[in-house]
Chain length 336, copies 4
């Protein structure tokens, strides 16, 4: 059960509410975000929610039977839209293209990518400065210095930055240089990191775990929301299966299904979703017509020379074709 | 290595070829189909194929390193097109819609479905008369009598029939009443059935196994082809994973990838691919833009009352919307 | 609900029973096996089964809520034991070792294997004469002639034969030469084959599908039982997962769980369960202490030269060690 | 390639080595642990390692072709043994039983558990004070205060403590109160946490990810080792599959296979491995005979009342039976 409080609810009204919940043995979790104050009450007893709904200081009340609550569409019917500033918006009718390299490598690489994005009207650049790598001996990214350099070039060009944060301690040092924090598949259930990202006022793109269920993804989003940050988008990036013909299986079902389960924007990552450069385009189109609110994709001016994971990375020319075709499919989708 | 023989190759020329292959320790498999005669030679030794290519009676020769041979695009670059007669074609630019109930149930049901398909320009009707069911106590289909009734009504209306064959013994009795044999996911590696279907001159739609790899699917198709039947199409119908939010995960990657691996038409089954009625449409659109050559879909005049598996079945109105939108997406796809 | 009938139930008593079931809208399936006559009644209505239990001609009656019925331990609490003759028994305290090559190759191979088995007190020999192979160009077994040769040598030596049957048409020609029919993983849901094996009076070893659930395995067994053959054993042979360090993942959980779900013997196939020769022993021991009623294992006098699948095949010396250690673990298991 | 340095290698000798590696374009990673100094050199060029092996200051040198290096058995053939003090050892012939509740709940619970363990000769107690929970509204553990209380009671009784650490910031506050840090399945690729655990001198039990490969598990262990901590053990705890009859599939293959791939102790978690209380015993026995170096298991004085995850938790009586039988199987295993 979710109870939205009036902004000006009085202390004594809150006490009445809490004692009512306590009397029916519901555990009350107080949630305060950028946009509102809520009580998420969890319990088993069946009762008439109107009794509580009529109390003073209560704006809205709903039963939510899902394991996740505040991110459920049973709570909020309308679509959430994230606003990154400068007219860059995601969700609720605003489709977002995000593109860039696997890893930030050099000033030259950043500049070339920024130019490419500008030339194609792409407003958000992806790239890693902290890279989760299976082997400790692999390149692990340029770190905070790389991010600062990137921020300087990108912000001048009016390009927004999305990049992965891997640990709580990185948040503070990164926050001034990024527009969206990305949580990678390997950290999809790093609950301390999710808690901490709930306490800042920056959008978060949350990737599904390598073999995460939709339910787990939504509960991970609930961690962020319930800590105070409503600015969340979800990302399908392929799941691990027995099939070896590609790196992952992009779960197109997840796009359609998540759009029904949650009000949060749903982003598709076709690059990791298939992991094979020459098929990334098809997955991007499929995800678009299945209802995605955006695409995040790997591009590099010279994929063969990319520091890491070049196998799924498009060159600029290939990427341009994808941007244009995605636009066409989107236009048709929205017209039907 | 595949060697296509001239239609008029002489016996002694064939002997020369065989002895050459034997001398390099290649095992020669003779394949004769509706459309040609081939030698599929399997061996390890590396040698100059031109030596053989220049022999009299040889039309064409290619190395094919894949585990599958004749169905590989490395053998045949152009797309295969299946011709069902009466201008109903599948593949190589001809997109096929196939729709109908899970099970054939009654004359009334057949008639309603046929009318619905005609009204929407859908030329192929699916439906089961032999149903593979997990439990022996479930309804297992109307059998051959149901098929004959269906055939009578459908052929009068100019509608083609696709239906599942479950065992070798059924082939003969079914063949006059069907236009396409379907091999179900559970029989995807029933090699005797595949052998037998290679010996008839009817198109076969081969479904991917529940957890079959693309390589296994293509090798199963190779069984049919190498027994003499080139009229094959492949069908992606979702794979089994850990995710319980839907019955299967439709493998959109498979559509894009199969189109590169094989010259055979690739069909998508969005109904089983997600198994949730209200999302079937999205999967149909996604598969279309990812490059599918057709869609096979469950429709019923009253899904709630369907004998079996109603959960993924669209009603006529829902299906009409899908046909129309698929058409639009297809038109855009082909124009880009 | 399962109703066991008295052997001498009168026709009119049966009619009374059927009309009672019909009146509560239960569908009655009559099952007659080597050992008894049953009515498996499937319906939804809740009612007092004692009403039916008291009717004349009824020996026993039980509710069975599982999807499978006659193979459930909810129906039969005691363990089923299969008797292959000559004191060779499986289940209910009788542990069975079965060993032999992947494929039957030659008289010499058969003789060597038979000698090896005799020398080690192993009474059942496995081997394939019809081989399910992914590629149509692979060796597919010696067929019925190989089986006859094998039968001649094995029966003289007092060794029982278990071999795979792949299609209904093979049953009649094989039945006089085998002691146990094996249904392979790829045919685990070949329902026509299961039906047909239910109509003969020979034991059947049923392998779990490559990604089959326990529930599906038990329902496949139910097909055999409900067609009239109670002589069934189940076989865990590894499942398909994302892990590539071995061919399959042997599902040790299945051994423990199946023993609770069903009264049928549960056999472990460690060879396919891991697919790596030097670890087969460990899986055999693990399966034994987890409660298996037997082990089926690949051995060959010269695994490196085996026609097929030598990678998981033990040589005679390795196999001897396994037989002996399995015996020790079994002895300890039964003493605890 | 791994190069073990002499403890007293001179600075100039090290420089010579580094320049040699540099000249063949190998990247040198210096690793210093509690037990030795190593250079892990990664590169592509083939060369004669004896050239380097003969340099002064070099103790040992080996090629290791695996993706993981220092944890590979190709580097260290003998088994690693962890010493927890007070004669509590794990690995290389020392089998470890670890048992305790899912969550630490109360003083009474700790005391009862400690008594139970002492009475049964179990020297290591497991329990969670920081709990990773899918939902943010679930009980997340007693935290550091719970740990201090636990430490006080356990250390008095001579019982060692293993408990999960979820984030880098917790390490310092926990380190004086624990004997083994546990890394949970959800953090199996939380590389920053692994880095940090490599910098302390405490044993770490590293769980395999929910769908982690053995290779990933070993590379995660390499993170810890290469940061300076050789005291690592690995834990198989079941993988995620399509099968719903149990929570996870315990991968018995992993036990046998890991014992060959690494010199680190391999622990089995049968509780999570199957997730069904009445089958935990069978999995414990199976893992033991398959070669595990220890068992970690959930026990509670009253599983029905446990705060969390009671479904797989044994009561004291059940656990006693398991300890005893594991001992018997172990004795037999080591005698064969």
């Amino acid at each position: 059960m979710i109870i939205q409080l009036e902004p000006n609810i009085k202390e004594e009204e809150l006490e009445v509410l809490k004692s009512q919940l306590s009397s029916i043995k519901y555990k009350a979790n107080k949630v305060s975000t950028q946009f509102g104050d809520y009580i998420v009450a969890v319990g088993k007893k069946d009762f008439d929610i109107r009794t509580i709904g009529k109390l003073p200081g209560i704006k809205d009340i709903h039963r939510v039977s899902d394991a996740y609550k505040l991110v459920s569409k049973k709570w909020k019917v309308g679509q959430t839209q994230l606003d990154l500033g400068d007219e860059v918006k995601i969700g609720d009718g605003e489709f977002a293209l995000m593109a860039g390299p696997c890893s930030i490598e050099s000033e030259e690489q950043i500049q070339k990518t920024v130019e490419h994005l500008k030339a194609n009207g792409v407003k958000i650049m992806r790239g890693g400065v902290y890279k989760p790598r299976s082997s400790p001996y692999s390149f692990r990214g340029l770190g905070i210095d790389g991010l600062k350099l990137w921020h300087q070039i990108a912000s001048e060009a009016g390009i927004k930055i999305i990049t992965e944060v891997m640990m709580v301690e990185q948040i503070d040092s990164m926050i001034d240089y990024i527009d969206v924090f990305q949580v990678g598949a390997r950290n999809a259930q790093n609950f301390n990191l999710l808690d901490a990202l709930g306490k800042v006022d920056k959008p978060v793109l949350l990737k599904r775990g390598m073999s995460g269920t939709l339910d787990e993804l939504l509960q991970s989003a609930e961690y962020i929301f319930s800590n105070g940050n409503e600015k969340i988008m979800l990302c399908e990036r392929g799941i691990r299966t027995y099939e070896n013909a590609y790196r992952n299986v992009f779960d197109i079902n997840a796009i359609a299904t998540l759009k029904e389960k949650t009000h949060l924007p749903v982003i598709a990552d076709p690059s990791h979703g298939i992991g094979v450069r020459r098929f990334v385009d098809k997955i991007a189109y499929a995800a678009t017509v299945a209802g995605a609110d955006g695409i995040i994709m790997e591009v590099h001016h010279s994929p063969e020379k990319a520091f890491s994971d070049g196998q799924q990375t498009l060159n600029f020319q290939e990427a341009e074709t994808v941007y244009k075709k995605v636009d066409k499919y989107l236009e048709l989708r929205d017209s039907l």
